[in-house]
Each structure stands twice: as structure tokens, then as C-alpha cells.
């Protein structure tokens, strides 16, 4: 339950072992690698041409895979459902299988074939678009009856397809008759408010015709060329469109055929990224004429494991360990017991503690579980969430982080069961409708008398914040800042714990009530006098103490009231559940059989919604209480997370991770 001490580790090996050493270290995941600098070293290692080429090939491979995955997603016929976008598919496998990912698929071949298919799809799309435009135009000229090649005209006459507004037709006809009598305007068809016309004119009158047309806003139409009449060409275009459509479907079928490789490609991408990282890590190594020096940090257990693994590789590989020196800033490795470890991600989410700090994960584990339980606070929802998440953990291939999150929520759901029993909340059913034995277990009625439960929440908050103050007391004391520990934290603890203890004893009749005031008064006086000890001047000390005392009391009051959100969120779960039950009762009476089905549907959908929406709140709000109210009392963070060189994966689950 603490920050695990780490030691400096140095692995020295002949250059011929370099790749094997890096592979082995990545496999066992024990060493947090640092850049090596030192007077005995040559300049930091640069990648050889071969290594740089390998890194480039990995990057190229990653881009190929990304193209293929994007391509298959773009031309996917059935779009992914909501759940599959939320929960990405995971691929469990051993480390050996992962390292042989590249053998399972011929990436270059698939890339080439898919690129061809992609180009064909683009060509088909362009061709379809062009034919569709042609078809749209031809549909307006089906009554023309003249081969398209002849639309341009002959040696002595010109032919022009024209589109004008129907309202302008009469004026145009009149104008042409007056100014260009050697022309004829024939209406071919109507299209909305426009008229498609066919204008024949003698070439000698071309200037007059053009002048008339420009005076009466017309659209110049550009018809395609060809030996066929528009109606026959239209039939031909439609047939071509149909043909392209079926060809397009065939190509999409072929693309679908490649979808079976998606899993392998996703694994391959992670493999390539890991290979590239491994090669790039080599630039951190120290370099002599014939050896490479790998320096970093490892735990005691990690050092032993590394020694054992390197010994198996060769006797010529040296592993040395030493204590951190003055000025070193080792990374922080959290080490907690089996039950607490799933909560470590909550600490990491904020930032790991620095080396001088206490690891608060076990305190977070207890408080987060209780707070989560209060936020859900229902003896019906609690077991449902618990069973659902346990089944998900057991049967779904999930990443380590998601599994930890689900386990954390499972603990919280078990707590929700207890809170639900004492508050009489079962799927939002009102207490008066519960069986007698359930009613008799109710301690707090949040609806009828909410104040006691609000008080419990504030009490929990006070305990939570006091535990944070104790941690800060411990950190200060350990760091040798005894005065800070006794004054800054000790007096606050004395004020709250002393006053509460005196109040309890006074209520029990052991001590008189005046002792409560005496204890609180002494603590307050001590705070006013001493809390300003950081100031340099005497007035600063005097007023600083008063100001700090005021700040402390107001801050603690505000923070304590903030914990009432637990009550509010628990009440929200109950109230929404209750509304859903009322709604289901209303729909039940609508029709004899359908009413019951509707009622079941409303209950199922409504309660699922209630669970989902409250799970969100039950995660976010306790987290805020941890990060703001609790961490605010002691936590500094600023540590570097211990990140050993190892296989990093989002979609692949390495089943034998860390085994040598």
C-alpha cells in the first residue's frame, strides 16, 4: 500500500546481443528506460542504416494498415452499431503470437489489391456522376427526334438548343419573327417553368439571332454528341448506369471479402507501432566501442527478473543495480494489494504521487466505493449492475483498464445494495409498497425526512477530509517538517476530532457540555495564534493566523456541504425510478394485453436509462470529491509514472504479459 522503491538498473551487453536484450526486456516489462549520458560513453547512440530502415518500414507499414482499415470502413455496407463504436473489439493472444503477427497476413499484397479496388470505385463513382448528369439533360430533349451529331447545324444553317422561361416564349418568338425571319423556334418539351426549344436559323442571320437571344435571358444548353437521337441515347445511358451499378456492387463484394482481415490488420498495426518504439528506444542507450549500456529504473522484483532473463540469454550480459543518488528523480511505481490495485487508475488519472508522498490509493478505494454506493443507492440496481459487470469481465475480451473500471464499479454496486436496503430503495418502488421485512430494515427515509441522510453524507465527507489531513501530517512528519505537521495539520485535527469526541462523550453523559466549548476554544485559539507561523513580520503572523483560521473553517464548511451531492444523486436514482414506475402503471391501463407489453417495455427501457445516467454521475461526482475535497488537503502529485519498456497495446490483450 505504498509507493514501491525503485533502484537504478544498468544492463551492459555486447552489441551483438542488442536486439535480443531489447526483445527480452520488452517481453518481461521490468525496466523503465532512461537516456544514458556519462563521461565514459561515446555520443548517444544513433540508429544504424539498418535500424533506421526498419523504423521507416514500420512507419510505412502503419500507414498501409491505416489506409486499409479506413478504406474498409468507408466502403462498409452496414454501419457499425452504437455498442461496437463504444466497445472496441479486443484480440487476446500470447506474446509469441503477437510477435509473429506479420506472418499472418501479406500486407503488401492486400494493400496493392485494395488500392486497385479503391481506384476502381473512384472511377465508377466519377463515371456514374457523369452519366447521371447526361441522363438528366437528355430527359429534357427526348422529343427532339434528331441525332445529337446534327444539333450543331450544317453548311448553311445553324441549330441551337435553347432553354428559356415559359413566360418569355411568346416575346422571343415575336422578336425572332421581326428581327431574324430566317429562323424557326420549335418547342421540344417543358421542364418546370422552363421551355426547351430547338432553334434553326440561316447562318447569315446568326448575329441577329444571337442579339435577340441575349436580350431575353436564356440558358445555353450543351448537348452531348453522338449518332443517336436523345431518346435512344437516354436508353443507352440508363443501361450503362445499370451496368456500372452492378459492377460497383461486385467491387463492394470484393471489398467485403477483405473485411475478414480487419482483426489481423489491427493486431499488425499494434505490432508495427511496438517494433518502431523498440527501435527508437535504442537511441536512449549508451554506446561504447563494443557494448551497449541500457540504464533505467526497476523494482527489486523487476531487477531479479531481469537478472534471470538476461542470464538465460548469455553469461556475457551484465546486470547491475544501485540505490538512487542525490539529485536523481526516479519514476514512481505504485504497489498495492490485489483488492486495491484496480483503483490505481483513479490515482493515475489525476497524476501519480511524487517520491516523498504517501500513495493514497487504498483510501480512495474505500471512499470511492462508499460514495459510488451512495450515488446509486438502490438495492435493486446495485445487484443488477454487479452481475452485469461481473459477466462482462468474465466473458468479454476487455482491456486491463476497462476491466479495472468494471471491478471498481462492482465494489461500488455491492455498497449500493447496502445503502439501498437502509434507505428502502428498490428499483424506485415507494417504501409503503415494500414487504414488511424490507420496510423494517429502512433506517433513513430520504423523501419524508431527508436531513438525517444529508447529515450522514456530510459526516462521511468530514471523515474523508480528516483522513487526507492525517496523510499530510504523515508526509510532513516524515519529511522532517515537524512544526508544519503539528501546527498546520495537528491543530485542524485537534479542532475537529477533539470537538466531535467531546460532543460524543458529552451526549453519553461522561463529561459536561462545557468541555465541548473548551476543546473547540483551545483549538481555535491555537489556530489563530500559530497558523500564521509562515509569515515573517509580527503583524503578518498575527493577522495571518486569523486569516488562515477563517479560511480553514470556511473551506472545511464548504467542502463538507459539498458531500451532500451523494445524497442528491442517490435521491435522483430513486426519484427517476419512481417516475418510471408511475409511467409504466399509466400505460398498463391503456389496453388489455398490449398495455402489459407496453408497461414491460417502459420498465425495461426506463430503468436501463436510469442505471446508465446514474452510473455516469456515480463515477464523475465521487471522482470530483476525491480530486477536489480530498486531494486538496494533501496531494501534490508531480511524480513520473513508472513506465517499463513493454508491449503497449490497445486492441491486443497479451495473455502472458510479463512472463519470461
Amino acid at each position: 500500500m505504498a509507493v514501491e522503491p525503485v533502484k537504478k538498473i544498468t544492463v551492459i551487453a555486447y552489441k551483438r546481443y542488442q536486439n535480443q536484450v531489447v526483445d527480452a526486456l520488452a517481453r518481461i516489462g521490468t525496466v523503465h528506460v532512461e537516456r544514458v549520458t556519462g563521461p565514459d560513453m561515446l555520443p548517444p547512440k544513433e540508429l544504424t542504416e539498418e535500424e533506421a530502415q526498419a523504423s521507416r518500414m514500420c512507419s510505412f507499414g502503419v500507414s498501409q494498415v491505416e489506409f486499409l482499415l479506413g478504406f474498409m470502413k468507408e466502403y462498409q455496407r452496414e454501419k457499425s452499431g452504437f455498442l461496437s463504436t463504444m466497445i472496441k473489439e479486443k484480440y487476446p493472444m500470447t506474446a509469441d503470437e503477437f510477435m509473429r503477427s506479420w506472418e499472418r497476413v501479406d500486407l503488401d499484397k492486400i494493400y496493392e489489391e485494395c488500392s486497385d479496388l479503391g481506384q476502381r470505385l473512384i472511377d465508377q463513382r466519377d463515371q456514374k456522376e457523369r452519366l447521371r448528369q447526361e441522363s438528366d439533360e437528355l430527359e429534357r430533349w427526348t422529343g427532339l427526334g434528331v441525332p445529337l451529331d446534327e444539333v450543331g447545324g450544317g453548311a448553311t444553317f445553324g441549330v441551337m438548343p435553347v432553354r428559356i422561361a415559359a413566360s418569355d416564349l411568346e416575346a422571343l418568338t415575336g422578336e425572332l419573327g421581326a428581327r431574324a425571319p430566317e429562323s424557326d423556334l420549335e418547342v421540344v418539351g417543358e421542364d418546370g417553368g422552363n421551355v426547351n426549344c430547338f432553334l434553326i436559323y440561316h447562318l447569315g442571320a446568326e448575329e441577329d439571332v444571337t442579339s435577340v437571344l441575349s436580350g431575353c435571358g436564356h440558358d445555353t444548353v450543351s448537348l452531348p454528341k453522338g449518332p443517336l437521337e436523345p431518346d435512344r441515347r437516354l436508353e443507352q445511358v440508363r443501361a450503362e448506369l445499370e451496368e456500372i451499378g452492378s459492377e460497383h456492387e461486385e467491387v463492394l463484394d470484393q471489398v467485403d471479402g477483405y473485411r475478414e482481415h480487419i482483426g489481423v490488420l489491427e493486431v499488425l498495426k499494434e505490432y508495427l507501432v511496438n517494433q518502431r518504439t523498440k527501435v527508437e528506444t535504442m537511441t536512449s542507450f549508451g554506446n561504447t566501442r563494443s557494448t551497449v549500456v541500457i540504464e533505467g529504473w526497476a523494482t527489486e522484483e523487476g531487477i531479479e527478473k531481469t537478472r534471470e532473463r538476461m542470464g538465460k540469454l548469455s553469461d556475457e550480459i551484465e546486470v547491475e543495480a544501485s540505490e538512487p543518488e542525490e539529485g536523481d528523480r526516479p519514476p514512481v511505481s505504485l504497489r498495492n494489494g490485489k483488492w486495491i490495485r484496480p483503483f490505481e487508475f483513479l490515482t493515475r488519472l489525476y497524476g501519480v504521487p511524487n517520491n516523498r508522498e504517501y500513495d493514497p490509493t487504498w483510501l480512495i478505494a474505500i471512499s470511492f466505493t462508499v460514495f459510488f454506493g451512495f450515488c446509486i443507492g438502490d438495492a435493486g440496481y446495485g445487484p443488477v449492475i454487479l452481475i452485469a459487470f461481473l459477466l462482462m469481465r468474465k466473458y468479454m475480451p476487455l482491456g486491463e483498464n476497462i476491466k479495472n473500471l468494471l471491478l471498481v464499479m462492482c465494489y461500488g454496486s455491492a455498497c449500493a445494495l447496502v445503502v439501498g436496503v437502509i434507505t428502502g430503495s428498490y428499483f424506485g418502488i415507494e417504501t409503503k409498497y415494500l414487504p414488511q421485512f424490507m420496510q423494517s430494515a429502512v433506517v433513513f427515509d430520504a423523501l419524508e425526512d431527508p436531513l438525517p441522510l444529508m447529515g450522514v453524507c456530510m459526516g462521511l465527507g468530514l471523515i474523508h477530509m480528516l483522513s487526507g489531513t492525517v496523510v499530510e501530517f504523515h508526509d510532513n512528519w516524515k519529511a522532517g517538517n515537524v512544526a508544519d505537521a503539528l501546527i498546520d495539520q495537528g491543530l485542524t485535527l485537534f479542532f475537529f476530532i477533539g470537538t466531535i469526541a467531546a460532543a460524543v462523550l458529552a451526549i453519553a453523559g461522561v463529561i459536561p457540555v462545557t468541555v465541548i466549548y473548551l476543546v473547540a476554544g483551545v483549538a481555535l485559539l491555537g489556530m489563530i495564534v500559530l497558523l500564521g507561523h509562515g509569515a515573517k513580520s509580527v503583524p503578518g503572523k498575527a493577522f495571518g493566523g486569523l486569516y488562515e483560521t477563517y479560511n480553514t473553517l470556511v473551506g472545511w464548511l464548504g467542502d463538507t456541504v459539498s458531500y451532500v451531492r451523494l445524497f442528491a444523486l442517490g435521491l435522483a436514482t430513486f426519484v427517476i425510478g419512481s417516475v418510471i414506475n408511475t409511467m409504466s402503471g399509466m400505460v398498463r391501463g391503456m389496453a388489455p394485453v398490449i398495455g402489459i407489453l407496453m408497461m414491460l417495455l417502459v420498465l425495461l427501457v426506463g430503468h436501463t436509462f436510469n442505471v446508465v445516467i446514474n452510473l455516469l454521475g456515480a463515477f464523475v461526482h465521487p471522482l470530483r470529491l476525491e480530486y477536489v475535497e480530498f486531494f486538496g488537503k494533501f496531494y501534490e502529485d508531480g511524480g513520473r509514472d513508472f513506465k517499463p519498456l513493454q508491449v503497449e497495446s490497445k486492441t491486443v490483450i497479451i495473455e502472458d504479459k510479463g512472463s519470461s
Binding site: 489525476y350 423523501l447 419524508e448 456541504v561 435522483a572 477536489v628
Partner: protein, 170 residues
């Protein structure tokens, strides 16, 4: 006889009104206003956050899981409004409420109605900024969640005050 009874009933009703509304009407008005404030604020807040999240998701759809809590946070004020409205119906015998008590219930609902409305809108804006932070640095999700949660403190306080006032009115 019947006329006398009817007159007495009318007098009793007039006596139980306050500023022209009966206790029941005042209480229902307060309950409705509490939910209208919370609900409208939540809807606006979620819209602000969703607009920014949509832009992020276009670039990186895999961030949906990380962004969802930030989008949903401003929704809590609507729930607080609903709690208040339901509590009005649970905690008070509405048909028997006097005009003056009903008016007190109405005023007790106002902290939730106004504070939840304003805080949800501003929480939505804070969430939108936090979403921008997560878009650039996903590992800072923990800190990004805290920022909008700070704004909600005052919505929680308003609910506490409203519930506290209800217990005093009872």
C-alpha cells in the same frame, strides 16, 4: 341550507388563497418552475458541450468514451429540478395546502429554478473547454472532469437549500 354551505365553502377557499392563487397552485407553479429552470439549463449546457465534442469526434471517433462524461455532466441540473418537483408532491399534502404555505413552497423552489439554470449553462461552457483539453491530451481526462464538476457545486447547494426549506415549511 345548501346555499349556506356553498357560501361557507367559497369563503374557506378565498381564505386559503394568497395573491389570488391557492396553495396547491403556488406549489405546482414552484415545482414546474424548478424543473423548467434545471431542464432548460441542462439542455443548453449539453448543447454547448456536444457542439464542441462533435468537432473533436469528426477527427477522432475513438474519443467518444472519454468525452461522454464531459458532455453529460450538465445534465445533472435537470435531474435536480426533477427531484425538487417530485419532492413537492411527496412532501406536501397539496389539496390541503393553505395559500400562504403554498407560496412559501413556491419561493423554496426558486434556488433550484435559477441556480440550476445558470450553473448548467456555464457548466456546459466549462465542459466545452475541458473537451478541447481532452482532445489535445487524453491523459488529462481526470483533471478535465474536475473543472466542470466544480461549477456544479452551486447547483448542489441550491438543491440542499431547497430541501432544507421544505423541511422547515413542513
Amino acid at each position: 341550507m345548501v346555499g349556506a354551505l356553498a357560501a361557507a365553502g367559497t369563503d374557506a377557499l378565498q381564505a386559503s388563497t394568497c395573491a389570488g392563487l391557492t396553495g396547491w397552485q403556488w406549489a405546482i407553479l414552484g415545482a414546474a418552475l424548478a424543473f423548467v429552470g434545471g431542464g432548460m439549463g441542462s439542455a443548453m449546457g449539453i448543447t454547448y458541450a456536444s457542439n464542441v465534442a462533435s468537432g473533436v469526434l469528426v477527427e477522432d471517433p475513438d474519443k467518444f468514451g472519454s468525452l461522454l462524461p464531459l458532455i453529460a455532466i450538465p445534465g445533472t441540473q435537470g435531474i435536480y429540478g426533477l427531484i425538487t418537483a417530485i419532492l413537492v408532491t411527496f412532501q406536501f399534502d397539496l389539496p390541503k395546502l393553505s395559500g400562504q404555505t403554498g407560496m412559501m413552497v413556491f419561493f423554496a423552489c426558486l434556488p433550484v429554478a435559477f441556480v440550476c439554470f445558470i450553473s448548467a449553462v456555464f457548466q456546459g461552457l466549462t465542459s466545452a473547454s475541458a473537451i478541447g483539453m481532452v482532445a489535445r491530451r487524453t491523459e488529462e481526462l481526470g483533471k478535465a472532469l474536475v473543472l466542470p464538476a466544480l461549477v456544479e457545486t452551486y447547483a448542489v447547494f441550491s438543491l440542499i437549500l431547497t430541501i432544507f426549506l421544505f423541511t422547515k415549511i413542513k
